[in-house]
């Protein structure tokens, strides 16, 4: 029984909207062990980001968690107080955000933001931030005896980080404001910010959407090597199945707020059981020819009044009446291969 870094048990969550409360995540279950890298795939709107933001509790204020547990190293995140959450975010969970344009503060240069993240990674415990003292101290440099290093030290480190993520001309990037950078550059800055300190779990929410394929590989390899060195875990949320394949050991397939299939990378790609997974794999254009697939017919489920039973039912080619009424749960069909489907 190796120690689990993260364990999400029966998470039910949604958002308050004008139509009522939406029920996005339904009995969501996920586990990450130490050193493991797992992938989470699924279409837009299926609840991937919601889950990830629940882990380090940065959900927007109209989010509602209805039930379940999120255990990080055995402690329930949902019950943590502010101080403990701070510790979790500083040492435990790292995040690469999904939308880099929205995730960088538009009014501060990259250098400032990167420096603050680096500072956090070198501090211990929670320090009290007093803006007046900082102003005071910055005028009298010799009073800075609390272990804070000066700007140049951080600048050097920042430059190195930016080089690592393959940004050409890191000096310019460092001195720019976010709106002066392209989407891909911003994404790499975000990745750099998360690599500033290596924590137990890295959550990467679609970190490669804006990058060219070559850069994608390089960056992912960089991350993988860094993580492997210290035996750290990661969750890679992505739609780019190709990238996921090379990076992760285990894959969770999510549809409509629940996990529908879990398996190792080979199993999912070669031997998927769930009709949704099969459809997804089908959709990937293959080098061997055969043209493009038809896609999966239908729409994403409605979350405010979700259908009872299996949420994939309306689109499933193999469905039966049972599927409509009973919500399938994950059953182990083979070793380490779980599927939530009646028809399996």
């Amino acid at each position: 029984m190796s120690d689990k870094i993260l364990e999400i048990k029966n998470l039910n969550a949604g958002y308050e909207t004008y139509r009522g409360v939406s029920h996005v995540l339904k009995n969501f279950n996920l586990e990450v062990e130490k050193g493991e890298k797992i992938g989470v795939i699924g279409e837009s709107g299926c609840g991937k980001t919601t889950t990830m933001q629940s882990v380090n509790q940065i959900l927007p204020s109209n989010a509602v968690i209805k039930g379940g547990e999120i255990n990080f190293k055995g402690e329930n995140v949902l019950k943590m107080k502010e101080k403990e959450l701070m510790k979790l975010r500083k040492k435990g969970v790292n995040m690469i955000p999904q939308d880099p344009s929205a995730s960088l503060n538009p009014l501060y240069k990259v250098e400032t933001q990167l420096r603050d993240v680096l500072e956090i990674s070198t501090e211990d415990g929670t320090s009290y931030y007093n803006p007046f003292m900082n102003l005071f101290k910055s005028k009298f440099k010799n009073l800075k005896n609390d272990g804070r290093k000066d700007k140049d030290y951080y600048r050097e480190k920042s430059l190195k980080l930016l080089e690592d993520v393959k940004l050409s001309d890191p000096e310019r990037v460092l001195d720019s404001y976010p709106f002066q950078l392209s989407g891909g550059m911003k994404q790499r800055v975000c990745i750099a910010m998360s690599l500033a300190s290596l924590k137990d779990l890295l959550i990467a929410d679609e970190p490669t959407t804006n990058l060219d394929v070559t850069i994608q590989h390089q960056v992912l390899n960089l991350i993988k090597n860094l993580l492997d060195k210290e035996n750290l875990s990661a969750i890679l949320v992505s739609q780019a199945l190709g990238a996921v394949k090379k990076f992760v050991d285990k894959i969770y397939v999510v549809y409509g707020g629940s996990v529908v299939e879990v398996g190792t990378t080979e199993t999912i790609f070669d031997d998927a059981f769930h009709p949704y997974t099969q459809g997804l794999i089908e959709c990937m254009p293959k080098l061997t020819g055969g043209g493009f697939s038809e896609g999966i017919a239908g729409q994403t489920p409605e979350y405010v009044n979700p259908p009872t039973g299996c949420r994939f039912y309306p689109r499933c080619p193999n469905s039966s009446n049972e599927c409509k009424n009973n919500t399938p749960s994950l059953i182990e069909v083979e070793k380490n291969h779980f599927v939530a489907c009646e028809g399996a």
Binding site: G14, T17, Y18, R19, G45, G295, T300, Y303, V304
Partner: protein
């Protein structure tokens, strides 16, 4: 078919937070959304009720007030300065002419509402149209001409402009309304312009132009709806503001003149006897504040309802 799916998915991404798929009718949907957000704050509903009461009194004042004839040249000196809450004939007391204060206040609502209605009724069309024309012809001489011309009228705060214009012309309620409108329309031009000028280069405008739609069609049908939100928000907040300015003007004597039962004028008239006889001053002041509070709450609610969550 595939494009529709993609559009579905796109809209799903946008609606993801609200957990919806594309609704039946986008307009109805957005109105429903707005109403939900509006209702969210009970204060907005309070503001709406106050606004409705105000408008009702403005229209039907004469039928509600107990002594409507006191609104003009009336005097009943033996009854002057009766205290409020003492008699039933004069529930809020009388002023220095013996006129019933309650009736005059009720009649006074009309003048406040009229001020807002006239000013906004003038400034909105003029301002918005100017903004549209200027925005459509962005970066041409038309743009510069209109916007710089409007700048002239915002070179001073609106109250100051209104005071001086009313002072130069004769101080009447009508002149006050004209004066305020002059200082007010540029704001609408500006807000329309800001929201529209960035869209002029977008694809859908170019498409309209290619299809041969005439300028007015483009401006009003295509550009205007995008600016409508901020315009309406500002208009709803402005009602309270204009009423405030109107009351201030008449308070100083540069608006409606006595014996008009304008709330500001009433306060000014009562000041001579203040503070020993407090009610001719305090009661109309409370009435003004009541109206302004209502419209401010309403405006706030509308603002929250139209706020895009981005």
């Amino acid at each position: 078919m595939a494009e529709d799916d993609l559009e579905e998915k796109a809209k799903n991404i946008i609606d993801k937070k609200e957990g919806l798929t594309k609704g039946p009718s986008p307009l109805l949907d957005s109105l429903k959304r707005r109403w939900y957000r509006f209702k969210l704050n009970p204060l907005s509903l309070l503001g709406l009720s106050i606004a409705i009461i105000t408008i009702f009194l403005a229209i039907f004042g004469e039928h509600v007030a107990p002594h409507p004839e006191h609104g003009w040249y009336y005097h009943n000196y033996p009854a002057r300065f009766t205290e409020p809450f003492e008699t039933l004939t004069y529930p809020l007391g009388t002023d220095d002419y013996g006129r019933c204060i309650l009736s005059r206040i009720i009649l006074g609502f009309r003048y406040s509402v009229r001020m807002a209605a006239v000013v906004l009724g003038l400034t909105l069309p003029v301002g918005v149209t100017s903004g549209l024309v200027a925005g459509y012809h962005r970066n041409t001489w038309v743009d510069t001409l209109i916007m710089r011309f409007s700048d002239v009228f915002v070179a001073v705060p609106p109250l100051v402009l209104a005071l001086s214009i009313t002072g130069i012309l004769e101080p009447t309620a009508e002149n006050a309304m004209i004066a305020v409108s002059l200082g007010w329309w540029p704001w609408y031009a500006r807000i329309t312009y800001n929201n529209v000028s960035s869209l002029v280069n977008e694809e859908f405008i170019k498409a309209s132009q290619i299809m041969g739609a005439n300028k007015f069609h483009i401006m009003f049908k295509n550009l205007l709806p995008n600016a409508l939100g901020p315009i309406l928000t500002k208009a709803s907040l402005d009602v309270g503001l204009v009423i405030l300015i109107g009351a201030s003007l008449s308070f100083v004597g540069l608006g409606a003149q006595a014996p008009t039962p304008d709330l500001g004028t009433m306060v000014a008239a009562g000041i001579t006897w203040f503070p020993s006889r407090w009610w001719p001053v305090i009661l109309p002041s409370l009435a003004i504040s009541f109206i302004i509070l209502g419209f401010n709450l309403l405006g706030d609610g509308i603002q929250e309802a139209f706020e895009e969550a981005h």
